[in-house]
């Protein structure tokens, strides 16, 4: 079992490491892109911060609490993007025949697709989210249970985004130009969960719980960590459900991926 998980992981790291080594040849551009990426994503949070100059709370949450929510989802999507973000390019890999090439190699296809041209500079997003998250964390009243919950939140949240990236990218097996659809759900979803869900109508929260369960990325676990009762009246046990949701999502994504690969039809030339 351990082997089943570990081997692909090792293969991923090996391939990624070679890409990192190859790309450091252009050291200057690496730093420029990384710092640029950091600044661009940084500006994102500044928007929320400015907002709080005119309001004192957003949906009943303070700036630090919103920052915690923002950092939680930001960290999850940034980690997912760093490791599996390349899968957005599945359609072009299909068109260029790169997928055919990967299919005749002895590393799991999904690992190859995700590790292809691994770019360490996407770590900028992770750092930015980590800064916001770290700042907000300084004001949390930590207990062992809350620390464990925070760790579980980051891992589960990343897995949920992993699954979304993969499942939606699989649409490209059937229609080549569905990358935008996938973005709407992943990055769009991330934007929604950057805010306290109390600012949205109840239907949105229900959708983010039962349909596209992004509320489990940060919202429910954060309520636990911040010591808040659920403002929308969901039972307390929803707050510990994130790992279960993450596993289920990963299962669904794996299934969609397998189906996509079995239906893959390559190109005519």
């Amino acid at each position: 079992m351990a082997e089943l998980l570990l081997t692909p992981l090792v293969r991923y790291c090996e391939i990624a490491a070679l890409w990192v080594r190859a790309s450091t040849t252009y050291r200057a551009s690496f730093w420029m892109l990384t710092v640029g990426g950091f600044l661009i994503t940084g500006v994102d949070f500044v928007g929320i911060w400015i907002l709080f100059h005119t309001v004192h709370s957003l949906g009943g949450f303070s700036l630090r609490e919103v920052a915690f929510l923002y950092g939680g989802t930001g960290l999850a999507i940034a980690i997912a993007d760093l490791f599996v973000g390349r899968i957005e390019r599945l359609g072009s890999m299909i068109r260029l025949g790169r997928l055919d090439t990967m299919m005749v190699r002895p590393v799991p296809l999904l690992i190859q697709v995700c590790a292809d041209e691994f770019a360490l500079r996407r770590i900028a997003r992770v750092v930015q989210a980590l800064v916001v998250f770290g700042w907000a964390s300084a004001y949390v009243d930590w207990s062992p249970g809350r620390v464990a919950m925070a760790a579980s939140m980051v891992v589960s949240g990343s897995v949920i985004f992993f699954a979304l990236f993969i499942a939606f990218a699989c649409l490209q097996f059937w229609t080549a130009d569905s990358a935008e659809v996938a973005n709407a759900f992943t990055y769009g979803g991330n934007t929604l969960t950057s805010y306290p869900l109390t600012v949205f109508p109840g239907e949105v929260v229900k959708a983010l719980t039962f349909v596209l369960p992004l509320a489990f990325v940060n919202w429910y676990p954060s309520l636990y960590i911040l010591g808040r009762p659920d403002p929308l009246g969901f039972p307390a046990w929803t707050q510990v459900l994130s790992p279960v949701v993450a596993l289920a999502m990963a299962g669904i994504a794996a299934l969609v991926w397998r189906t996509g690969v079995r239906h893959y039809r390559s190109t005519g030339s």
């Binding site: 190859a22 190699r105 041209e117």
Partner: protein, 316 residues
Amino acid sequence: MGLIEARGLSRTFTVYKRSGRLNRTRTEVRAVHDLDLAIEPGEMVGYIGPNGAGKSTTIKMLTGILVPTGGHLRVAGVDPSRKRRALAHRIGVVFGQRTTLWWDLPLRDSFELLQKIYRVPSDRFRTNLAEFVELLDLGDLLDTPVRQLSLGQRMRGDITAALLHDPEILYLDEPTIGLDVISKGRLREFLRTLNAERGVTLLLTTHDLQDIEALCRRVIVIDHGTKVFDGALTELHRQGGSTRTLVVDLVDEAPPISVEGATARRVEGPRQWLSFPADASAAPLVAAVAAAYDVADLSIQEPDIEDVIRELYSRS
């Protein structure tokens, strides 16, 4: 048991064509239909057929890229699409039309990445690389990014890439496409050596019949997804050997010549091509033509493999 075994192998593609503004009609393209194959270890097989015949589709099924829609297929004892990764260690694939290398990496880095991917032991990797670099004359190119290589250089890189892990089977889909005469010759020489010295089984598709004549004792011809010939190259020659051609240059243009014992196959201005049975003597035919027409020149063509193939294609 054969190394490659297929029975009734088929692959259809469902394609939707637009008909009218909103309607789409659904059609089934039978890319490969009811194909039987049996290839033994160490064979060099030429796989030919006109454009769209189903050659690439067949190779994609043999490598596990495409799941067949029908039939039974075993390569090295396994079902390729279900055991893709296990099979990967035992096969090498070269797609002439596109590179399997990484566009931005120098050849050397591409090869190292492949070493990691296939887990080639480093001493094995070094000897293989040294050998292929030597045989394919890649020495000066190792530090060049793939995107800067010419087509012929890239092809040599691709072939090396497909062989670093010591595959038993090498599939080559149009490996000589776009190569000049000398490069083609070298590549053929290399493939011959590979087969003779390492015992690698080769299956290659091509539109250049000289590749086949230079390399393959066995030829499989496919057309519209169906196998139309499978046998020795000499057999193919013999089939085509049934007719020879008399090329007649008339003084003036004329309607197709009609004489006893021959049929006009082609007319281009004053030049006409007459085919006649190979076992018949040309002398009476020449006499008959010369008696009835004003002839400027005459020549006789022995059967050509291109003609044989052309006839096979048009028959099906």
